[in-house]
Structure formats: structure tokens, C-alpha cells
Symmetry: C2
Subunit: 428 residues, 2 copies
């Protein structure tokens, strides 16, 4: 039995350098634990002047990824460039070259997971991608293996550390979004271009990957609505709090009979919900299944060591199989009849914050339009303010289809007493 596994790393940023540091410094620990000697043969990056937490030897360095994906002595290619190009080419060509691949690339996998998994199957190579969702939390493995016996029916999850940090911080410090984002950037919790995180797209990519396995359907971010957190204000956070809720950026997926509804959006979540206490950069995944009932996983969703935890576990897991020279093919079961529900038909409760001139009859007018659209009200907050000024009126609705809600709010926003587009936030 072979016990030496050679790896090549492509992309040497925070995650790559932390992973390489641990692989090198804990080499003997991993050898003892698994019987495998993991050797980093080559590391590819375009910029070798930048200082990292750990630096490879001259011999290990390259700027040409072909030296890794075509090397005859490399067993596992660790792709950590992210995004689409050249990551897609690196992953696909590595698999075609009969190398296994470990990646954290949610961007690529969220649209091409199925295609890439098929390629890995055809070439009897392994694809490890635990790090692509929720950092160190072994949620892919848990869904694919630990809960293999289950029909999973619901996912509610906090999957992005940056936005959870911003919303937590806005709630704790009572500072508005723009300033909180700046603080997060200064602390290194948000990137200089934070749009993938803030817009909810990063969360949507992770939800697509999780859902593909949980529901046995090839789901991509374009299949569902994704909203970001940029319009959440202190006012919303304050009202939510008064009503017993927190605001979190949540990924939702619910399977009922032969339909599945998915979305990513900021939502009011009850302070009693297990996800509501997950603060700062932590991630949490709340699942329901026919046998296990309810389960929650939570842990660090980002950072060099947390992502490194998943990447190195994947390397060791795949390395053990390579060393034993065994291949366990992946079976793709697709629920052919499963349909994705159009977002208009999704039924939910909503928080609405109207900005209206404070004059007699305004609430009556709003309630009438809601009523005409079949939307019933569960609670209202309208506080005494200066008359003749625009003031917030907060309404929580009962369950209503999104279609009706949009139509009603559209009508209401045309009223002359309404001074700003109405804030609409889902209630979980």
C-alpha cells in the first residue's frame, strides 16, 4: 500500500497559505493519524512577492499551473483560486488527468457541480468540496452520508460570515449599514469589494450546492430569488427587536410533496429560533428530515484555518482512498419530478414598514388595500409622532403569497401619503 500522497496547490491566498502551513507543520501528526505522508510538491500563484503567513521553499514555487495539473507525480490538486477562470479549466483538466481535486470554489460549483462530479466519476477521481459551504462545518458530508437515510425537507441557514457580522454588529452597536460595512472592512471581515457577500450571492451559491445534495436536483442560483442586506436599516432592526425578532440573511429551502421553494433574503427570525443566537462571523445550518427530525450545525464559516480544516480533512479522506487504491463511485440520484416553485407563489409572513404622512385615515387606507388583496394583518406598530411628518408604520402580515403582497404594496406605494418605497422583509 502506498502511503505517500503528493499534492499541488493552485492559488495561494489566505486559505491556501494557512492550509499549506498546517500541512507542513502537522505533517507528522497527519502521518501518525492516517498513515499518510502528505507532501506539497508545488504551489502555484501569480504573485510571489506578497508576504503570507507561511512561505514555501523556492523548489515548491511556480507561476504556471500546468506544472501541477500535468505533473505525473501529483495525486491531488487543491484549487483555491476561486471564481470561474482559470479555476474551471484547472479542475476539469486535473480530473481528466486522473487526479483528484479538493476545492473551496462555491462560485464555480454552484453552477457546474453536477457536470464536474460526473467528470470525476468518469475518471475515477475524487472531488472534495466540503470547504465550499460553511467553512469547517462538515455539512456536505453530513447531508450526503450522515443523513443519507433521510428525506430532507427543510434547510434554513446562515451561510455568510460577512453579512452575519454586519447584521450582528448593526444590532449590537446601533450603527447604520454603510458605517458598519466600513468597520467590517477595517477588521478584515469584509472584502474591499464586498458585493458578492452583501448582495446575498455568496449565500445563494452555497444554498445551491447544499440543495443539490439535500434535494437531489441540480439547483443553481438563477433558480431562485436572492436579496441582499444593503437596504436593512436601524429602524427595521429596532422594530424587529420590539416584536421579538432579529434580522439575519437567511438561505431557505423547503420541500413539500413534489415542489421545492428556495430563496436567499434578509428575514425576521424569532429570538427563540436556534439560528437567532448565531452571531458575528459564525455560520449555522438548521435542517429538518423525515427521520432525524430537527438538527442544527454551527461553527466558523470562514477564515484560513476554518477553511483549511475542511480542505485538509478532504485531502486526508481522499488520500486514504488513493493510498488503498480503491474507488467508490458516486451515485447521482435525481428527483426527476421535483419542481421549483415560482417565487410569486411562495407563501410567507411579512414585515412591512411604510413611510407615511401622519394624517387621519392613512392606516385605514393601507389596511383596506392589504385586505382587498387577501392579506390579513397580525400586528401593527404606529407610534405617536409629529403630525404632518412622514412616520414609519410597521405591519406584520399573516401568511400571504408573494404575488398578492407585491401587488398590494405596489398600490399602497402610489398613495400620495406614502413618502418612500415600502420596506418588505420576510418573516421566518
Amino acid at each position: 500500500m502506498k502511503n505517500k500522497i503528493n499534492i499541488g496547490i493552485v492559488g495561494f491566498g489566505v486559505v491556501g497559505s494557512h492550509s499549506a502551513k498546517v500541512l507542513t507543520e502537522n505533517k507528522e501528526y497527519f502521518l501518525n493519524k492516517t498513515g499518510l505522508e502528505i507532501e506539497i510538491k508545488k504551489i502555484c500563484d501569480t504573485d510571489w512577492n506578497k508576504k503570507r503567513i507561511w512561505m514555501p521553499s523556492e523548489k515548491q514555487i511556480t507561476t504556471d499551473f500546468n506544472e501541477i495539473i500535468n505533473a505525473s507525480d501529483i495525486d491531488i490538486v487543491v484549487e483555491l483560486i476561486g471564481k470561474e477562470n482559470p479555476a474551471e479549466q484547472i479542475i476539469k483538466n486535473s480530473l481528466k488527468n486522473k487526479k483528484s481535486v479538493v476545492t473551496a470554489n462555491k462560485f464555480l460549483l454552484s453552477t457546474k457541480l453536477f457536470e464536474i462530479l460526473q467528470l470525476s466519476n468518469e475518471n475515477k477521481s475524487y472531488l472534495g468540496f466540503e470547504a465550499s459551504v460553511a467553512g469547517a462545518i462538515p455539512i456536505i458530508k453530513s447531508i450526503k452520508e450522515g443523513f443519507l437515510s433521510n428525506n430532507i425537507t427543510r434547510i434554513t441557514a446562515i451561510l455568510n460570515g460577512t453579512t452575519n457580522f454586519i447584521l450582528s454588529s448593526m444590532t449590537k452597536n446601533k450603527i447604520e449599514f454603510d458605517q458598519t460595512l466600513k468597520n467590517a472592512q477595517n477588521l478584515g471581515y469584509a472584502e474591499s469589494n464586498p458585493s458578492l457577500d452583501i448582495s446575498g450571492m455568496d449565500t445563494a451559491q452555497k444554498l445551491a450546492i447544499l440543495s443539490t445534495f439535500a434535494f437531489h436536483k441540480n439547483i443553481i442560483p438563477d433558480d431562485f430569488v436572492t436579496k441582499g442586506i444593503e437596504k436593512i436599516g436601524q429602524l427595521d432592526i429596532e422594530y424587529a427587536k420590539q416584536l421579538g425578532y432579529k434580522i439575519k440573511l437567511l438561505a431557505f429551502a423547503v420541500k413539500e410533496n413534489e415542489t421545492i421553494e428556495l430563496s436567499v433574503q434578509p428575514a425576521l427570525i424569532s429570538e427563540n429560533h436556534p439560528l437567532s443566537s448565531i452571531e458575528d462571523v459564525y455560520n449555522g445550518i438548521y435542517l429538518e428530515g423525515d427521520l432525524f427530525g430537527k438538527a442544527l450545525f454551527y461553527g466558523e464559516g470562514a477564515g484560513g484555518y476554518a477553511a483549511g480544516s475542511a480542505i485538509i480533512s478532504d485531502i486526508l479522506d481522499i488520500g486514504k482512498k488513493i493510498a488503498a487504491d480503491i474507488y467508490l463511485p458516486e451515485k447521482f440520484y435525481m428527483e426527476e419530478n421535483l419542481k421549483i416553485k415560482p417565487s410569486d407563489e411562495i407563501i410567507s409572513r411579512y414585515y412591512l414598514c411604510f413611510t407615511a404622512i401622519d394624517e387621519p385615515g392613512v392606516l385605514a387606507e393601507i389596511s383596506k388595500i392589504l385586505g382587498n388583496n387577501g392579506i390579513s394583518i397580525s400586528s401593527v406598530i404606529q407610534k405617536e409622532e409629529n403630525p404632518k411628518q412622514a412616520v414609519p408604520i410597521v405591519i406584520l402580515t399573516h401568511q400571504t403569497p408573494e404575488k398578492n403582497l407585491k401587488k398590494a404594496v405596489n398600490e399602497i406605494d402610489k398613495l400620495s401619503v406614502i413618502k418612500k418605497p415600502t420596506q418588505i422583509i420576510k418573516i421566518e
Copy 2:
């Protein structure tokens, strides 16, 4: 490639009958999902008159487990009798007969895990035991595989649904232990002989199994102190609440350098700790590791379907490997130098509840003895009560070795003003 996996079930109680029901009713779902046709060939039990949630056909029934463990056409033996005899013989002989085994038997595995795993390795058979700890939560898989890259340094866990239900219920309903236990028995949450649960022994067995994998040392319940919840009273719960704590039966394991300390005992846990919100029959495991940082898993720890979730996932997982005719040997890495810390040397904070005659100088006397033993006080609650009656005095200590604490309390309990043995509860 073979796609039919035959199983035999030994022990047909709640877990066995729920598992068999799901395996039969969801047979096609599992076939689609994994490519495996799982067939229950035989089910052994001594009592076939008892009515279960699902009943096998006449052909499947036997009262002689040898018909299962010696059958040439059975691939996996599912042992669900529990305890030591004849479970040990069934598991060992099945493995010797080159059959894989799936079991929920924490009782047996907590002392013989290592021996049985070696036997499975020698015979190139698989042993699945996810259901032995924390029901449906895939914690064994997460420690062995998902966190394989980590040096795990801490486990704090609620591993027994019965005691967690009792303590939750005592806290919510302000009813004393004896009555709450009776209620739990009526609701089916406690067995008629609840001593394994109440005494902490069930939790200790699960901690031993988890720790063996987390810390790479063959740990058995006799290696550490285990205390039950029978002496926890409303008074303790009330005082804990006033101080911002809940009382939970906790399994602890902490690794520091080359020593590990373990214990199972009721403990005060801060209301901010992620485990404190885990109520009723739920289980939760909080872990720390060098790479993943902190992680929490929580879910249903008991019940027919929850345990069935883990058992069937194990059957499918092992079935896939049998079908592909591959064997991945288990590597046993043992941390040879790891020592278990004697309980006397374990340092902790403590809650002490003295029952003392309310007369001048009592608190001074108690504090003096604590001070003489090097124990410093972090807070005291002594409420105004009827003088000359025995009243509770509650003291929270700073960190102190258990040895010093025992010595001090021993001295204090000999004072004539002390009317009852002092209640000592660890603070997490």
C-alpha cells in the same frame, strides 16, 4: 457490481422496529438514492407476541440469532439488543464470519470499542456505530472524518435525552426531581428502571466512545468520575437562575498538552453558552479544535426514528462499500503519551450550597475554612430568613483543585451550625 445487500436484525424493540419499518417502506427510495436494494432477511427477538409499530412477515421471524450470524447470505448484522450479553457474542461472531455490523450498543462499545474495531479490521468487515452516541447527530463521522485534520481539544456535551428532559422540566415547571422523573416515565421519556440515565452512566458511556476517537486513546467510563442528577433540587435550579446559569448534565473532556481530563456531572452553565438553550430530549455537542475553532451540533438524541436515521445511514454507507467490493482499513492512531488527569487535580469553579443555622459568624467561619484551603470566593448569596433556622448560603468559588474543595467542604460539614451535607456543583 452487486446491488443487493441482505441484512439481519437482532433485537426488535423500539429502534429495531422503527428501522425495519423505514427500511421496508422506503426501500425504493433507498434503491434510487444509493443503487442498493436493502433486504431484511431475518429479524431475531425472543418475544414475538409484543405488538410493534411494524411487524415482519412470518418468514422473516426467528428466535435464534445464530440463524442470522451464521447465515451465508447475510451481509450486515444489525445488533440492537444492547447491553453486554449476548450482544458481545453476536457482534464478535458476526465479524469473525466476515459480516459487517451496525450497532447502537453504547454499553458494550464504551468498554470494548477498540477490541471490536480491531476484530472488524482483521476480518475486513465494517463496524457502524453512529447510533451509539447522540442518536441521529452524525458526530462520530464528524469527529473521525469531517474534523480529521484537527487536534480536538475540548468536548462539552449533553448526551442523554432523559436527564436533559428532567432538568429542563424541573426548571420550567418548578417541580422537584422525584415527581418530574415520574412525569417523564409517564410520557415515555424515562424508562421504568431509569438508573443508567439518572446516574450519568449512559452519558459516561457515550463520552467514552466520543473521546476514544477525539483524543486517540482507549478511554472507558471507569477512567473518570461520573455523577448523576438525583441530588439536584429546585433550590439549586433557582439559585443558578438568579446567578445567570442553568443546570445541565454535562459530559466534559479537555485536552491540554499531554493530559486529558474527563468527567460527567451536573453543572452550572452560563445562559450565554450555546448548550444552555438545548432543552427537553435534545442532545448537543460543543467541540473545540485547533483548526475549526468552535462548533456545535444539536439534534434528537433518542427515539425510534432518530436512532433509525443513524442506523440506516450506516447500513447504506457500509452497503455501498460492500457492493463495490472495497475495503478501507481503519487506522488506529493512539496518543501513547496522553495521560488521564486524576479527578482530584481537576481545577474548576464550583457552586456550593451550605445549609447553615442563621447565626452571627457562620459566613465568616465558612469563608475562613475556604480561605485556609486556598479557595477564593467569587460571589455569595445569603438571604434574610427566620433566624435560628437552617438557611441556604450559596457561594460561587473561583478556580480551585477538586482536592482542596473536598477537603474544605469536609471540614465545613463538621461544623455544628451546618445541618446538611453541602451541595457541590461544578461551574462550566
